[in-house]
C-alpha cells in the first residue's frame, strides 16, 4: 500500500476489519459505496426481469413463461426498479458520498442514522427478494398494489409490501439526514446561494422524502391490515373505497417521481459548467425551480386517476396543476442549453451522457403533456404510451444522469480514471438500444395496446418485436459501460485530485478523499462554478 492510499478513507477502517469495516461504518463515503453497490445489484436483478418480459413479448402467445409468471415478473421489475433502484438511486449513493464533500463537511449530520438507513434499505430489499421464493408465489399486483386485487390475490403481497415499508423508512431517514446536514454543516462562508446546485436538488429532494414518504408508509400498513385482518378500509362491501387507496398511494408516489428526477437534474447541473468551462446560466432560477418542482409536485397526484371515476372538477384542477409543474422543468432544460452558450466545451463522457439525458428527458417530459391534458389522457392512460413516457423520464432521464454522474465522480471516488473511448462507445450502444426499445412503445400506445398484457393481438406484433431487439442492444450497452467502470476501479490510471478542473469543494481534497474529507476545514469566499 502506498503512502497516498494510506491517507484515503479506504485505508481508515475504523474499529472493524474486512466486510464489517463496510457494513458497520458510519463514514458517509463508505455508506455511499454500500448503497452504490447494493443499488446496482438490485438494478441488475430488475434488468434481468425486464429482459425476460421483453422476451415473452417477442411474439404473440406463450413464448417462455405462463401468464401468472409474467405478472409476477413485471411486478418485481417495477417494485425493484422503483423502490430499490431509482428512488434511493442518486441521493443515497452519490449524494451520500458527495454532499458532505461539496459543502465542506466532515460527514452528514447523523452518521449512525445514515448507517441505519442502509440497514433498513438492505432489509427491505431482502424482504422483497424473499417474497419471490416463499409463501404462495411471488406478488402479482403490479408495483402500484391497487386494491381490491392486492387484497384478493393469494400471492405473497404482504411480505413484499412490508419490504417496501422498510424501504420507505430508509428513504425518510436519508431525507431527514440530508436536510439537517445542509442546514447545519455547511463550511464557513458557504451561504445558501453559494451552494452547488446539486446540493439544492438534494435539499429539495430531502423535503419531499420527509413529507411524502410517511403517507406511503401509512398506506402500506393499511393495506397489510386489510389483508391480514379484513379491516375494510378499501373494500366497498365493508363500507370502504378503492379510490381512497389510489389517492393515498399517489399522494406519495407522484412526489416520489420528483425524488427520482430532482437529484438527476442536480447532477447534470454540476457537469455542464465544468465541461463548458463557464459559470452556470441562471443559478437562482435553477435553485428555485428545484424548490418549485418539489412544492408543486405534491399537488398533482390526481393525474394518475383521470379514468378512475374521480369527480370531473378534481380532474380539471389536477390537470391544470400538472401543466404548471411542467414549467420549472422546462426552465431547467433551457438553462442547461444556455449554459453551453459561449462555453469552451470539452465533450468528455460525463457531458455526452448529460447531453443524451437532456434529449431523452425532453422526450419524456414533452410526452407528459399528452398525458396531462384530459382529452388525450383518457386515450393513452393505461397503454404502452405511458410505459414509454415513464421509461424516457426515469431511464432516459434519471438513469442516464446517474450514469453521467457516475463517470463524473468516478475519479473522485476511486482515485482512478476509466477509459474514455469505451465509455463513449458504451453510450452510443446504450442510446441506440434505448430508443429502439422504448420508442416503439409510444406507437404501440397510440395504436391502443394496453400495458401489463401477457399476450396481445397480432396487429401489435411488429412493434413488440422491434422493442425486444432493442432490449438486447440496451443490455449490451449496459455491460460495456459497467465493464469499463469496474475494470477501471482496479486497473485505471491514477486520476489526480481534480482531473476535470472542477471548481466545487469536492475537487479541492485528495482523490479518494481522506477519512474526514478535508485536512483543514475549507473557507468559502464565493459562489460555485468559477473557473478563472
Amino acid at each position: 500500500m502506498t503512502a497516498e492510499e494510506d491517507i484515503s478513507f479506504y485505508g481508515s477502517r475504523g474499529r472493524h476489519k474486512g466486510v464489517l469495516s463496510w457494513i458497520l461504518s458510519t463514514d458517509h463515503k463508505r455508506i455511499g459505496l454500500l448503497y452504490l453497490t447494493s443499488i446496482f445489484g438490485f438494478f441488475f436483478v430488475a434488468v434481468i426481469f425486464g429482459v425476460l418480459m421483453r422476451l415473452e413479448l417477442i411474439a404473440p402467445g406463450r413464448t417462455i413463461m405462463s401468464a401468472q409468471t409474467y405478472n409476477a415478473v413485471f411486478t418485481l421489475h417495477g417494485v425493484i426498479m422503483i423502490f430499490l433502484f431509482i428512488i434511493p438511486g442518486i441521493p443515497a449513493s452519490l449524494g451520500n458520498f458527495i454532499l458532505p464533500l461539496q459543502i465542506g463537511a466532515k460527514d452528514v449530520a447523523f452518521p449512525r442514522i445514515n448507517l441505519m438507513s442502509w440497514w433498513f434499505y438492505i432489509s427491505g430489499g431482502t424482504a422483497v427478494l424473499v417474497s419471490l421464493f416463499t409463501g404462495s408465489g411471488p406478488p402479482d399486483t403490479g408495483w402500484t398494489f391497487y386494491v381490491p386485487y392486492s387484497i384478493r390475490t393469494g400471492t405473497n403481497v404482504t411480505l413484499a409490501v412490508f419490504g417496501v415499508f422498510l424501504l420507505g423508512v430508509s428513504s425518510t431517514l436519508t431525507g431527514l439526514n440530508f436536510v439537517t446536514t445542509v442546514h447545519r454543516l455547511r463550511a464557513p462562508g458557504m451561504k445558501w446561494f453559494r451552494m452547488p446546485l446539486f446540493i439544492w436538488s438534494l435539499y429539495a429532494t430531502g423535503w419531499v422524502q420527509i413529507l411524502a414518504t410517511p403517507v406511503l408508509a401509512i398506506t402500506l400498513l393499511l393495506l397489510i391490515a386489510e389483508r391480514l385482518f379484513g379491516f375494510g378500509f378499501f373494500d366497498p362491501s365493508k363500507g370502504g373505497d378503492p379510490l381512497l387507496f389510489e389517492h393515498l398511494f399517489w399522494i406519495y408516489s407522484h412526489p416520489a417521481v420528483y425524488i427520482m428526477i430532482l437529484p438527476a437534474m442536480g447532477a447534470v447541473t454540476e457537469i455542464i459548467p465544468v465541461f463548458a468551462r463557464r459559470t452556470i446560466f441562471g443559478y437562482k432560477a435553477i435553485a428555485f425551480s428545484s424548490l418549485a418542482i418539489a412544492a408543486a409536485g405534491y399537488l398533482v397526484w390526481g393525474h394518475h386517476m383521470f379514468t378512475s371515476g374521480m369527480s370531473d372538477i378534481s380532474k380539471a384542477v389536477f390537470s391544470f396543476l400538472t401543466f404548471i409543474v411542467a414549467i420549472p422543468s422546462g426552465i431547467k432544460v433551457f438553462n442547461w442549453v444556455a449554459s453551453l452558450y459561449k462555453g469552451s466545451i470539452e465533450l468528455r463522457s460525463p457531458l455526452l451522457y448529460t447531453v443524451s439525458f437532456i434529449f431523452l428527458f425532453s422526450i419524456g417530459g414533452l410526452t407528459g403533456l399528452v398525458n396531462g391534458a384530459l382529452a388525450t389522457n383518457i386515450y393513452v392512460h393505461g397503454t404502452y404510451f405511458i410505459v414509454a413516457h415513464f421509461h424516457y423520464t426515469m431511464f432516459g432521464g434519471t438513469a442516464f444522469a446517474f450514469f453521467a454522474a457516475l463517470h463524473y465522480w468516478f475519479p473522485k471516488i476511486t482515485g482512478r480514471m476509466y477509459r474514455e473511448a469505451p465509455a463513449k462507445n458504451a453510450l452510443l450502444v446504450l442510446f441506440t438500444g434505448f430508443n429502439i426499445l422504448y420508442f416503439p412503445m409510444f406507437i404501440l400506445g397510440i395504436e391502443g395496446m394496453p400495458r401489463r398484457y401477457y399476450d396481445y393481438l397480432p396487429q401489435f406484433h411488429r412493434d413488440h418485436l422491434i422493442s425486444t431487439i432493442g432490449s438486447w442492444i440496451l443490455v449490451a450497452g449496459l455491460i460495456m459501460m459497467f465493464y469499463n467502470l469496474i475494470r477501471s476501479v482496479f486497473k485505471g490510471d491514477t486520476a489526480g485530485d481534480n482531473p476535470w478542473g472542477g471548481s466545487t469543494l469536492e475537487w479541492t481534497t485528495s482523490s479518494p478523499p481522506p477519512h474526514e474529507n478535508f485536512k483543514e476545514v475549507p473557507v468559502v469566499t464565493g459562489g460555485p462554478y468559477k473557473f478563472r
Binding site: A67, D312, K342, S344, A375, T376, G382
Partner: protein
C-alpha cells in the same frame, strides 16, 4: 343536432395533434440549439469561455411562452374532455358489468351480451361497474376509457360513426386473465341492429 361536431373522438385527435405539434417543435429547437452550441463552442474553436450568468428578458420569455402554451394545452384538453362527460340526451344506455375476466353488457330491454353491439350514429352511454376488482373499459377506435370500480357506477359515451368490428380491452391490470379480457364493439346499421336487438334467444354464443 350536429353529431359530427360533438363526436369526442374528433376532439381527442385535435388535442393530440396540437400537443404533439408543439412538442416536436420544442424538441427540435432544444436539440438543434444544443448540438449547434456543442459544435460551435468546442474547446478547439473557442479556447476561452465567457461567463454569462443570466439574461433577464430571455429568462422571462422562456417562462412566459411555455406558460401560455401549457395553459392552452390544459384548456383544449379540458374542453375536449368536457364533451366526453356530457352524453347527449338521446344516447342509448347500456349497463356494463366487469368481472375477472369478462365483460357483460345489459341493454334497456334486458338483453345481455358478452360483446357490445351498437347501432350506427346513435350515441351510446355505458354505465359501468365491477363485480370484483378494478377493471377499465377501453375502446381505442372511439378514444374512450373509464374504470370499472366495485361498489361504484362510472360512465362514458361515444358516437359509433362507422360500421365494423372494433377491439374492446381491459386496461386496468386485474390478474392472470387481464390480457384475455378482450371483447369487441360491433357497429351495425340501424336495421341490422333492430333485428339483433329484438331477437329473443339468449346471446349465449359469445
Amino acid at each position: 343536432m350536429n353529431t359530427e361536431f360533438l363526436n369526442p373522438s374528433v376532439n381527442v385527435r385535435g388535442v393530440f395533434l396540437f400537443i404533439a405539434g408543439v412538442s416536436v417543435v420544442m424538441l427540435v429547437l432544444v436539440t438543434s440549439i444544443m448540438v449547434f452550441f456543442l459544435i460551435k463552442y468546442d474547446r478547439k474553436r473557442n479556447p476561452t469561455a465567457s461567463d454569462i450568468e443570466g439574461n433577464l428578458p430571455l429568462e422571462i420569455s422562456w417562462v412566459v411562452i411555455p406558460t401560455v402554451l401549457v395553459v392552452a394545452m390544459f384548456y383544449y384538453g379540458w374542453t375536449g374532455f368536457s364533451v366526453m362527460r356530457e352524453p347527449p340526451a338521446d344516447a342509448m344506455n347500456v349497463k356494463v358489468s366487469a368481472r375477472m375476466w369478462s365483460w357483460s353488457f345489459t341493454y334497456e330491454n334486458g338483453k345481455k351480451s358478452g360483446e357490445l353491439t351498437v347501432p350506427l350514429n346513435r350515441p351510446v352511454k355505458l354505465i359501468i361497474t365491477s363485480e370484483d376488482v378494478i377493471h377499465s373499459l377501453f375502446i381505442p377506435a372511439f378514444r374512450v376509457k373509464e374504470d370499472a370500480v366495485p361498489g361504484m357506477e362510472t360512465y362514458l359515451w361515444f358516437l359509433p360513426d362507422r360500421t365494423g368490428s372494433y377491439d374492446l380491452f381491459c386496461s386496468e391490470y386485474c390478474g392472470a386473465g387481464h390480457h384475455a379480457m378482450v371483447s369487441k364493439v360491433i357497429v351495425m346499421s340501424r336495421e341490422d341492429f333492430s333485428r339483433w336487438y329484438e331477437k329473443k334467444e339468449k346471446d349465449g354464443a359469445n
